[in-house]
Assembly symmetry: C2
Homo-oligomer: 531 residues x 2
Amino acid sequence: MSVPKSKKIEVSLEQLRKVFTANEHPKSTLRKIDQAITENLHGFLGDTIVTSDYSLEKIEGQLKDFQIPNEPILVSEQSDFLLKNIVKNSVHTAAPSFVGHMTSSIPYFMLPISRLMIALNQNLVKIETSKAFTPLEKQVIAMIHHLIYNKENSYYKNHMHSPLRALGLMCSGGTVANITALWVARNKLLTPKENFDGVERDGILQGCQAHGFKDLVIIGSELAHYSISKCAGVLGIGRKNIKKIPCGRDGKMLIPFLKESIEECKKQNLGIIGVVGLAGATEIGSVDNLTEISEICQENKIHFHVDAAWGGPTMFSKKHAKQLAGIELADSVTIDCHKQLYTPMGAGICLFKDPADSHEIRTTANYIIREGSRDLGKFSLEGSRPGMAILIHSALKILGHKGYEMLIDHGIELTKFFAQKINESEDFEVISNPQLNIMTYRWLPKKLRHYKGKKKVPTEHHEALNRITIAIQKRQRDHGKSFVSRTTLNYGELQNTTVFRVVLANPLTTKEILSNILKEQRKLGKQIMDA
Amino acid sequence: MSVPKSKKIEVSLEQLRKVFTANEHPKSTLRKIDQAITENLHGFLGDTIVTSDYSLEKIEGQLKDFQIPNEPILVSEQSDFLLKNIVKNSVHTAAPSFVGHMTSSIPYFMLPISRLMIALNQNLVKIETSKAFTPLEKQVIAMIHHLIYNKENSYYKNHMHSPLRALGLMCSGGTVANITALWVARNKLLTPKENFDGVERDGILQGCQAHGFKDLVIIGSELAHYSISKCAGVLGIGRKNIKKIPCGRDGKMLIPFLKESIEECKKQNLGIIGVVGLAGATEIGSVDNLTEISEICQENKIHFHVDAAWGGPTMFSKKHAKQLAGIELADSVTIDCHKQLYTPMGAGICLFKDPADSHEIRTTANYIIREGSRDLGKFSLEGSRPGMAILIHSALKILGHKGYEMLIDHGIELTKFFAQKINESEDFEVISNPQLNIMTYRWLPKKLRHYKGKKKVPTEHHEALNRITIAIQKRQRDHGKSFVSRTTLNYGELQNTTVFRVVLANPLTTKEILSNILKEQRKLGKQIMDA
């Protein structure tokens, strides 16, 4: 179905008003364009090609005007342009063979319900522009809080809709959630005392002076997401002041090193903002020993934050939730809804064990978010925010706990299947064993099989393996039929080790698709070796 | 049209896969539900009621489950629930009589194009999950940059698609844009020097020591948005370290006080992060003398940031752009697209005069946002981000410069009309004259008319006027037919002055609607006086 041509917009107030008015007539041109876009979209999404081979440079060439056109163009002209140039050259992140990043197909009902969200255009910063969406968001946060913390009924009854505090804060994504958590942690450490009003009001310089700290640090796994580095930067702590704790071969923080680091910081009089543990490291999917870390933090009165942006929803699974044991002891937890809750971009949540923690970052103003109001903007880093809660609410209800459990179990099972297939192969080697549904592996051809699982591979061979793994990944990506990502691992004994990385959360991904991906990689690897 | 009943989802992988697959058949139940939602939505948006009179407490009562249901519910059941309980009790922010906050109706084409955005679900953090959307976003930023800075052609040709630097950064909204700007400014002030790697890497404590500052401050108008306070908090500067410059009766920063403050800070050895000027103060719409402020900042080598979240698009207007003269001299500018560019929530932009400024906050990682890549995540505060650029691009093209100009001119004209109407009335008084399209006024009945425009109103009367203004605003809001916001002004000679506040940017708002709003307020005022 091609996009029907709309009429030229004369620039008059009357015409503009028509553009701003919902057109209810099913035969109106705008409704027809709407339908045409839906049709074409389905055509695009039905395709299994991950991305077109049209080069980025060529696309840039089509997007080089920097002046806003003086005359309006037709809706149909713009729709045509978007379908032909942008949609066609996007990445089909929902494709079942796109297994390289944390994307997936999303449930179909997200489309009509997103339309509700966009059309209602609520602003969650304040009740006056959101009304029912505010308690809806609070309910969603309570539901996810319950999934992670599983507190008693009275806890939720008391806090869920309270205007005084928040069980958690919704934001645009995991990075802002991590910033929020460590912002709270920083403010709790540099708390008010005599002649000091707290770091939020008086700043870091006075805070360190008042508390007698030589400097501030964040302690976290060497596998922590790069956003932790951003947090240290933006919060005024400094990226170099992250104490990175080495991990074992399994990607878990080594507890003795953590203890040592805490002792060393105390000895040096460094204020510890918090310890960041991982529930699903971005690169390899590993989960830290959360219970042990939490005990150490409690002993030392340190804020314990868990970055569960990826792994949090594993809590749905009876079988696998135990990997996250101890997460309920964390002071704060980051969850990304646009990852394994399968909502569209961008929705993250920062949960608090103690809802009073939200007070650490409270703001009020005269015209909104007044004292005592239910306005969500009182506690959030962001101001105006969309009603993403309606999408999360719908997903939680329509898929249900059982549906999510099945999705989680399927992803982990598929990852284990793929790891086994690689272990049985003659030209690949698993580098990080799947704990959740992320796994890394690399090229290891027949003649170098004797290095399989070995710590030390002679530099010359090691570099050749890196090179070929990179070349295979690039060629496969450029073919555009499937996508596996790559990274270079540097943790524990692994240094400078380039690997393929798969993230298996798309329910449409099958064992057959994975087998074909490996087959193509094998073919490419042989071509590269022969060249 | 009622929502057709969908079939129960059996929790099986096969069923789940169906839910995750776009259903192309026009007669499928999901497509029918989609249509029903669209119909009902139009019904809602066609309504002129601003919000239902259903109480928040009652809505909370319907949203009290904190457990994610075990069994999935039907798509139709959820859709029904949302339409009856959430949509019906939302705020009709697009209503032409909703003139209290910075919301408006949005162009109808936002709905089909949002569907493209949601379905494609690109992640702008990296090329590998966004491809064509990355240059599209860069083009949008260049277009808005050109609107504000109007640099020469070669500037845009060199920088627009450069992988090395950014003309600006897109983010979830004005607050994050302001944080980004002041984050850059902080890092530029506490720049690397001998034995100091810069504040981003070494933190604020070492930064102040290395640069010999006694503390850090941000200087800004006393009318600055409350997000500037958040910025000072989150960036580690401290909310108390904002030097608030008094404004005149017109809401413009008083230049002598600004100069004095800078001198005082220098004398006290306080590091000045930046000066924040306003182009459209949230409360009253005033615009600072940007040229003068910029000259002072240049003389003193201070970063000059302009918060034009609201007022930026005034640049479209030949008639009114002059009010913003000097904005092109600012080092950074905040623009909100979900305000006067009429896109849905949430899209903001932080623009840089010098694209090299983006380097101050650069991050890289091994698996994405590698050195030299075009990945937008290298510079942004946020990580994963949606493809909002497609909506802004479409609006800029379909409305065109001319269309936006007409919208801006209409809003300002309407505001002037309303101010005049109030000035001619016998029971209201304009408090802040419209500069852009925001205006404040208050109740001032006949027997107190002799205080019109007077600086000093006896406390007893002043408080009575505040009380009645609040009561009128609340009653009108609760009637739900129109919405005017209220705030309490504290700037210049105005202290503790409660006012009605109107923001007139919705092209569907007419003079007649405004006259009716005033009529209702007059009636309510008399009722309250008589009671």
